[in-house]
Symmetry: C2
Amino acid sequence: MIQYPSKLIEEAIGEIAKLPGIGKKTALRLALHLLKSEESSSIDLAKAIINLRTLTKYCQVCHNISDEDTCGICLSHRRDKSILCVVEDTRDVLAIENTSQFFGVYHVLGGVISPIEGVGPSDLKIDTLIKRLQTGEIKEVIMALSPTMEGDTTSFYLTKKIKELSEVRITSIARGIPIGGELEYADEVTLGRSIVSRTLYDQN
Amino acid sequence: MIQYPSKLIEEAIGEIAKLPGIGKKTALRLALHLLKSEESSSIDLAKAIINLRTLTKYCQVCHNISDEDTCGICLSHRRDKSILCVVEDTRDVLAIENTSQFFGVYHVLGGVISPIEGVGPSDLKIDTLIKRLQTGEIKEVIMALSPTMEGDTTSFYLTKKIKELSEVRITSIARGIPIGGELEYADEVTLGRSIVSRTLYDQN
C-alpha cells in the first residue's frame, strides 16, 4: 500500500484509476502530468467531462449520441431507412461510418446481453427496436454485434424475437472479422467488406 | 478523420486525448464509459482533477507534493537531515519510500535537463538545492536520477555545480544487474559497468 504525499493527489489517483484500463501507476503519471501543465488544461478537461455527462443527448430514434433530439443520420434523406444496422454502442457506429460502405440507419442497443456483468435484455434498447420494425418500413436488419460470446448471444436472442413478430430479412455482417476481436479495432477494409458481403443470419 | 456524432463527445475526446499515452480511441472508450456510468462518478472525477490542480501545495523545503507548507518527511524527527536524495519527481520519492531502505530527506528537482523538450537548469529547483547545501547541515547528496541521457546530464551538471561550492560527499545509487534478473538478458553497458564497479561479496 503506497502512502501518497497528499490527500488531493490520493483522491485524484483514486478517481482516475476508476476508469477502465487505467491502474494506480498510470493514474499517478496522469495526475503529475496535470500538475505540471497549465491550470487551464485541468479546468478544460474537468469541464469537458462534466458537460459530456450532463448535457449529452441521445437520438430518440436510434439511441446514438446526438446534439439534437434526432441524430443527423436518422434525419438524413440520403440514408436508406429500409436497412437497419443493429450495433452495441456509438464506437461501432463510428467504425462503420468510417468505412463509407453503409447507407442505411442504425439502432444502438447500448450494450450486449451479459449475465456475468448483470446485463439482461431489459437493459438494452430492444423495445424501441421492435417498435421500429412494426412500422413495416424496415426491410432488412443487419446484426453488427461483436463476434464474442455476448454479442453472439444477443444476435441470437434478437433474431428469435424478431422472427416471431416480423417477416423482415435478417442478415449478419460477414465473418471476415477475426472471432474474439472487438469491432472497433478491425481495419476499415475488413469491416467495410464484411458489411458488403453480409450473409443471411441462419447460414452462419 | 472520424466525424463524431456530437460536439460534446468530440470536445471530451479532444481534452482526454491530450493526456500522455492516451490516443483518440482510448479517449473515446473512456468517454463512453463515463456516459454509461453514474453522473456522480463523472462529477467526482472532474472535481478531483480541479482540486488537484488548484489546491495542491508543494513542500517549501524539498518541493515534494504536500498537504501542508512543509511535508511530513521534512518535518519528521526520525529522518536523517544530513543525507539528501536528489530525485526527478514525486513518483521517485514514492518508489524509494516504498523500499523502506532510505531514512534521509529528499530534494525534488521537478524534472531533468532536456534540451529536446526545452528544459534547462533554470526550470529545475536547483537554486534551493544549493541553498540547502550552504547551511552545512547536509553531509551527503545521493544522485537518484534515472540512468537516461537526460538523467545522467543532470547528475553531471549538479555534481559539477555542487563541487564548486561545497565539500559535501556526492554519491549515486548503485547501477548493476537487477536482483532476480538473468545475466544473459542484461544489456552490455549495464553488465560491463557492473563488472567494473564490482563490490566485495560480503557487502552485497
